[in-house]
């Protein structure tokens, strides 16, 4: 095995999309890729991991991994990495993955390149590419020493799935100190759908062009018709129209859906930096010189109060016709 993908299971043994992408990313630069997960691995997870192209699924099991604890899990993972000795290890660049990756880098005194969007292999190893300065510039970095650790930006790599092939499950027991310093004492489901932004395949986001919080339902209705997540630009969040969790942009959530629809968003550089990974961007704005049109694949100049309801109706009609 050359490389190890640290994966996060979703509900009922599904594999989160960002984890699937992490395996796909490693397969670009490594011959043989294994995955590692915590706790109990349902059979379905091994199938999912195998379909993504990993050969083995290592499962860190034991009492320490039944309750979530970032520092204990990092210790266990560091121990597993020492024993399996992969050249590279990658995590999905989610809150969970970034937390673990930085902790493991500390325990192993290893180098970590965060937020990778592309990479290539040369004689000396991997050169990773990551966006800096709000996405305007791309930095090429090499991690010195072994193992080289990476987090992969969600949405940057396409998932590759193959014919059904299950990964071989291997249990691995590791030693961890008994008392965690950081304890997770509770998890609450987010009270709003915006929390799904990082994994969302479609997003509809609203900006100040909506005029007031009472008009935000236009965005929500379009999102509901599409089955999309809801986002917002910074001014809208700062004004308190919607919770901070909706914030899309450089200082909020960086997203990479297949379809991003910006409604009444002018397209400040900080907002645009958060959406450049999107496959298709649609902008609806009354101002023909709004910078959002410079990055939009499809731009509609006009009154959003007329266009958005018309678009919601057209989507419903389209869905009705194709179902």
């Amino acid at each position: 095995m050359d490389a190890l993908a640290v994966i996060e299971a979703g509900d009922a043994g599904t594999l989160r999309r960002s984890s699937q992408e992490t395996i796909a990313a490693l397969r670009q630069v490594a011959g043989a890729v294994d995955a590692v997960a915590f706790g109990e691995a349902p059979e379905r997870l091994a199938d999912e991991v195998g379909a993504c192209g990993a050969e083995r699924l290592w499962v860190l099991s034991g009492p320490a991994f039944l309750t979530k604890s970032p520092d204990l899990w990092a210790q266990g993972l560091a121990d597993a990495i020492r024993r399996l000795a992969p050249k590279s290890v990658a995590w999905p660049g989610t809150a969970w993955g970034k937390d673990l990756a930085t902790r493991v880098a500390g325990v192993l005194d290893a180098g970590l390149a965060d937020d990778v969007v592309a990479w290539e292999q040369d004689q000396e190893g991997i050169v990773a590419v990551r966006p800096v300065f709000g996405g305007k510039i791309r930095e090429r970095v090499r991690v010195l020493g072994s193992p080289a650790l990476f987090t992969v930006r969600p949405g940057a790599f396409a998932v590759q799935r193959e014919a059904v092939r299950s990964a071989r499950v291997e249990m691995i027991s590791v030693a961890v100190q008994a008392e965690p310093e950081v304890r997770v004492t509770g998890v609450e489901a987010a009270a709003h759908q915006a929390a799904e932004l990082t994994d969302a395949r479609m997003i509809v986001a609203g900006g100040r062009g909506l005029g007031g919080p009472e008009h935000f339902r236009l965005v929500e209705e379009l999102a509901a018709a599409l089955g999309a997540a809801v986002g917002a630009s910074r001014p809208v969040v700062e004004e308190g129209w919607v919770p901070h969790a909706y914030h899309v942009g450089q200082t909020g959530k960086i997203v990479a859906p297949d379809l991003y629809i910006a409604v009444g968003i002018s397209g400040a550089v900080q907002h645009v930096a958060g959406i450049l990974g999107s496959k298709c961007i649609v902008a609806i704005n009354h101002d023909p010189s709004a910078p959002i049109f410079d990055v939009a694949d499809y731009g509609i100049v006009g009154d959003l109060f007329q266009i958005v309801p018309a678009l919601t109706a057209a989507i419903r009609q389209f869905k009705g016709a194709t179902e």
Binding site: P70, T94, A95, W96, D99, A110, G111, L112, A113, P131, K136, I137, R138, E139, R140, V141, R142, V143, L144, E181, V182, R183, V184, T185, E188, A189, A190, A195, E196, T198, D199, V237, H244, A245, H247, G252, D258, L259, L276, K279, C280, I281, V282, F293, V295, A296, D297, Y298, G299, I300, G302, Q306, I307, P309, A310, L311, A313, A314, Q317, F318
Partner: protein, 121 residues
């Protein structure tokens, strides 16, 4: 950990942090001292007043050589774990298309293009 809300119990030297994950909020407890990252929206910043800004301009800036921190400059180089190989301009998105017409017509046109050209519907 990156926090969206923090409660401190100084007597017990304990910290309770709420932090946002994808699709959930996690409540995490730890002992002090701890390192906490702050997320936007965690708190309302206290902006400096003009007199304080003027005062700040007169404050001396202390420069600490690595040696003062007990670090040896050569050792720091050896412990380096990342090497920057270069920078390049990020690829720009090609200019898109503008659609115009009556709202209902434009909406139908957009849906058709999202389906046929962009293939995202």
């Amino acid at each position: 950990m990156v926090a969206v809300a923090v409660e401190v119990d100084p007597a017990a030297r304990r910290l309770v942090v709420r932090r946002e994950l994808e699709g959930a909020v996690e409540i995490v407890e730890t002992q002090l001292p701890a390192v906490v990252g702050a997320q936007r929206g965690l708190n309302t910043p206290r902006y400096p007043t003009l007199p304080n800004i003027m005062k700040a301009r007169r404050q001396p800036i202390a420069v600490m050589p690595l040696g003062d921190l007990g670090l040896d400059p050569v050792g720091v180089q050896e412990r380096r774990r990342l090497r920057v190989m270069g920078y390049e301009e990020a690829p720009r998105r090609a200019a898109g298309q503008r659609l115009s017409g009556e709202p209902a017509e434009v909406a139908r046109e957009l849906v058709a293009r999202l389906h046929r050209e962009a293939q995202v519907l």
